[in-house]
Symmetry: C2
Subunit: 242 residues, 2 copies
């Protein structure tokens, strides 16, 4: 599986993804699931991918125009006029990749992949989309300001409860690490290290990007601190009375 989250804040966009891929529990690998394209001062786009690794890599390669010789590439993600068109491009590309894989007789489901796409193009607002394997997509709104793909359930309750649109980037990374920690503890197919990326609204460059390893001292603080903070929160509530 996979766990990726894209979150829209007043201050910008934050993305986090794990790096585990697996074909059965006895065959795991580490692959980056976060991709970005940018033209400094003009646009930034970030893509998170979940699902069949062959599909997601093919989609990214096509978006990168890696089928062409390096000097003939005019990467379409850097040329689309709007984020809406970028989401459509991702959707069309994934549909195409799945269509090409499916006719050999296997179910198309096995080749499925979902994406979170976020970014901003100069003159327009930052936008955040979720693209389905069918190629259609939805956009984040004030009511639903974040998207999750992959193993979404374990880490959802804390996102729903603690997200605030005016959070700082630093608080948001904390929130995401709590959400990822709950997921890591419950699903073996989600694994460290994690990739994090912050895009600050109207900056048109990637603001901050890092890989968080398993021995990262801040991650350890959150993982251990959250267990005890959760226990004290739980203790603070009144017990049931018969």
């Amino acid at each position: 599986m996979t766990y990726c989250v894209g979150l829209k804040l007043n201050k910008g966009l934050v993305f986090m993804s794990d790096t585990r891929t697996n074909a059965g529990v006895d065959n795991i690998s580490t692959f980056r699931k976060m991709y970005s394209w940018s033209l400094p001062d003009e646009r930034v786009m970030v893509l998170l991918a979940a699902g069949n690794l062959a599909t997601t890599q093919a989609v990214v390669s096509l978006l990168d125009e890696r089928t062409k010789a390096p000097d003939e590439r005019t990467v379409s993600m850097l040329e689309v006029p709007s984020m809406y068109q970028a989401a459509r491009l991702v959707g069309d590309t994934v549909k195409e990749v799945i269509r090409q894989s499916a006719p050999v007789g296997q179910s198309a489901d096995a080749f499925g992949a979902s994406f979170i796409l976020g970014g901003q193009i100069r003159g327009m607002e930052p936008r955040l989309f979720m693209v389905y394997p069918e190629g259609n997509f939805i956009e984040a709104s004030d009511d639903t300001p974040f998207f999750q793909i992959g193993e979404t359930k374990y880490g959802k309750p804390i996102l729903v409860r603690a997200y605030e649109p005016d959070m700082s980037f630093e608080e948001t990374v904390k929130l995401l690490l709590v959400s990822f920690d709950s997921t890591l503890k419950s699903n073996l197919s989600v694994g460290l290290p994690l990739d994090v990326l912050f895009y600050e609204r109207d900056s048109f460059r990637i603001g901050y990007q890092r890989r968080i390893e398993g021995d990262d001292p801040y991650f350890r603080t959150i993982s251990e601190g959250w267990s005890s903070a959760l226990k004290s929160a739980f203790k603070s509530l009144p017990d049931f009375t018969r």
Copy 2:
């Protein structure tokens, strides 16, 4: 879907189940998913059911021997010599019910059902089992002292983190309500009211049993209190630093 939890404590066993059943989101009903059998001073058995409602009701009817005239029933759940045999009886019964439903051409999966069975028979320890649709079963141990069936993911992180074997019944109900509240908030196919049952070790009678409705003041306190307790717990952790 469904959400049911059975939990083993030093003090005894605690069970909680929701009551929503659904065939699509446009067809929901309320059904009790908690069943119990007892012979005062001799044995108590509690069964929680998730999955196809026709299957789970058929299993319970067969365990109750409702195919026989009332005065000919010698309910087998009250006669098996051990909890292990009780789990086997539930397993054999669910296998039989699924086998009878499946030959009409549909996949056996559609008729699947899982159960949590807990109880105690005089002269033996309290025991807690999870019975799979295939009829086989596993028993709770010190390492895994609780079982969940149905929509298990949203409510798992808090159970893993806050469970302690020496909890009181009152604390355990609080823990289960937090776990159920997270699930209710995230999955429409899990719904109020909730049934709760407590069996005190070596009592050989049902200790406490109640239905918790949506307007229950304690449930409201937990549901609202947990949101704010969680937010403060989250605030208490140090923010990320770039």
